[in-house]
Point group: C2
Chain length 358, copies 2
């Protein structure tokens, strides 16, 4: 087994709690029955509450990874009559651009940097858009956009507002009702801290009205919605991860609700950032989520060398970047079952790496 005794600070997979792991060790039950429909209903209810979804919202459970959630949303909700404004501040924004291009959805490749888009009103091109698409947390660089500002802009311009919340759900605040969000895409292996393989699409009534016929069986939302009425999916669901999701939603509720989980992530992130201030590392962006800290070495060290040194010398896994950013940044996730004590392992490793006393 690889890495089971490593300390995990990668932004997916993230550290899972023992309670969730125990569910992973159980036999997968049969699922075409009322007992499993109840699991689906419970997961739907919990997710809708977590994001304060408007009355009448629905959840689609896709057995797939997050990109399938992103792509299926574009396929089912947008078409050649649309004009989508796609926020592109990193690799995942670029993926939405690719998806729109692949499915021939007219779009504007809205390249942004050094802003969380509080100023979208002045930055966005003056075109007649029908939809706004954003990765709320652009995970490739650790940059969080301002959903209040984006939501206000979407409302003012009557845009279908599609938010990939994959890397910020459970750690950073999101509110479908207050922020005028019509679609949220979530995934199991980030803040929800489950194994990868389950993607959830939350559709508010305005999005439900837009669901169209598609040239696809596996990504046919109409089929998922009609099966969802009886708590089922058209094709075999990721049964084990659904059961883990149910347990996780109960865990979040038991711990005081999602606000408490967000506070917990915020505290951990702040503790980490405060603790390493003496080290030759600086934040890569001023708009960091609670989910993750992205760091740049200030002493000329290669970020990749630090990643490798932490792995080899301290059994600590942080996340490298590829391409041009390989030497410039590395990423530290605060998602999942994190504690100060667990985070101390990384902090102490960093101090030790630099030969400094903490």
């Amino acid at each position: 087994m690889i890495y089971e005794d490593y300390y995990i600070f990668t932004p997916g997979p993230v550290k899972m709690s023992d309670e969730i792991l125990e569910v992973g060790a159980k036999q997968t039950p049969y699922f075409r029955n009322c007992e499993f429909s109840d699991v689906t209903y419970a997961c739907e209810k919990g997710l809708l509450e977590m994001v304060n979804a408007p009355e009448g919202s629905k959840v689609i459970f896709l057995t797939a990874s997050g990109t399938a959630g992103m792509e299926s949303v574009v396929m089912n909700l947008l078409n050649q009559d649309d004009h989508a404004l796609v926020v592109h501040g990193g690799g995942f924004g670029g993926r939405f651009v690719d998806i729109c291009a692949t499915h021939q959805v007219p779009h504007y490749d809205f390249k942004v940097s050094n802003t969380n888009l509080w100023d979208i009103e002045s930055l966005a091109p003056k075109e007649n858009f029908t939809s706004l698409i954003v990765n709320a947390h652009e995970t490739s660089v650790g940059h969080l956009y301002n959903l209040d500002a984006l939501g206000a802009y979407a409302k003012k311009n009557d845009l279908l507002f599609i938010v990939d919340a994959i890397s910020m759900l459970v750690t950073d605040p999101i509110d479908m009702s207050a922020q005028n969000i019509d679609v949220i895409i979530a995934s199991s292996q980030k803040g929800l801290a489950l194994p990868p393989g389950l993607t959830m699409v939350i559709l508010a009534p305005k999005a439900l009205e837009k669901v169209q016929e598609v040239q696809s069986l596996y990504f046919n939302f109409k089929d998922y919605l009609s099966n969802g009425e009886r708590g089922q999916t058209p094709y075999t669901p990721a049964v084990t991860i659904m059961l883990q999701l149910q347990a996780r939603l109960e865990q979040i509720a038991r711990r005081g609700g999602v606000e408490q989980s967000i506070n917990r992530a915020k505290n951990i992130a702040e503790y980490f950032r405060e603790s390493i201030k003496a080290l030759p590392l600086k934040a890569y962006t001023e708009f960091m989520p609670n989910a993750m800290t992205t760091l740049t070495p200030t002493d000329g060290t290669s970020a990749m060398d630090i990643v490798n040194a932490l792995e080899e010398g301290y059994k600590v896994m942080v996340c490298p970047n590829g391409g041009a950013e390989r030497d410039i940044i590395f990423r530290v996730s605060h998602m999942g079952d994190m504690t100060r004590a667990y985070t101390d392992v990384l902090i102490n490793a960093l101090y030790n790496y630099y030969g400094l006393e903490r």
Copy 2:
């Protein structure tokens, strides 16, 4: 937790061994590194050996359920210039027909019954086909087709031979080289006895040559093949299930190879069928796989009543059918970590249900 103390005889999910369940209880490791690439390579090698794939074959690992494997194969390998002969002997054959229709692939809806197609040469319409598609084990009714005869027919007519082996891999023999199979679709939660959520597509060189551009990111085989060269997938893989697959392939090898697993399933299936001969139940088809037994009550009892009685009275889960077959048949899987002792629980429950001495 639902059903954890039930005896599972459903054709997916199936009973998993303790060894596999233990992997499910481990932290999911980071996967964008050489250690995980080695897991992917090992899984690919093991699967290729298991089906005796020709030199140069490749495996695509999709985070998805089996229907995604079926649909992505049609999307990536067939187009409007093709003419597919689609064997349609039940619900899953019908799904391939739907998939071809959805993706505008010309096809012949080849409805068949009461034959395992040993006589395909005389039964098939005399048209110029380019491809032959079959669900080797039509799981909806428990009917196994003759892959030798289908393969010979495919070879003689120079057809791309696509086989959905989802419900027969590991329990029933399949040989890509001997049976001229160009594509195999497999899935995690059947004979491989893993949790659902991973689908594998095995492509022989003739199929690899046919891989075309598609209007899809998530199902773009070219992307999976190029990432596969370095043991990776374009999007987050079902990491935990991949690790379980690696463990399962090692388990199969340790137990004497796939032939031994097939023999074991055959023995269990024969033992079950022999043991219930005294009961008012008959085989629904004469072409049953080792994977499953499909039974029809001969005393006028509703099959659904038997399913419910076994569940409620004996904690035994067998599989009902829906629609017109609801009262006519139920299905008993022999896939997964089955033993005679485990199967005895079902046999004894059936005797008890009928008030008969075994």
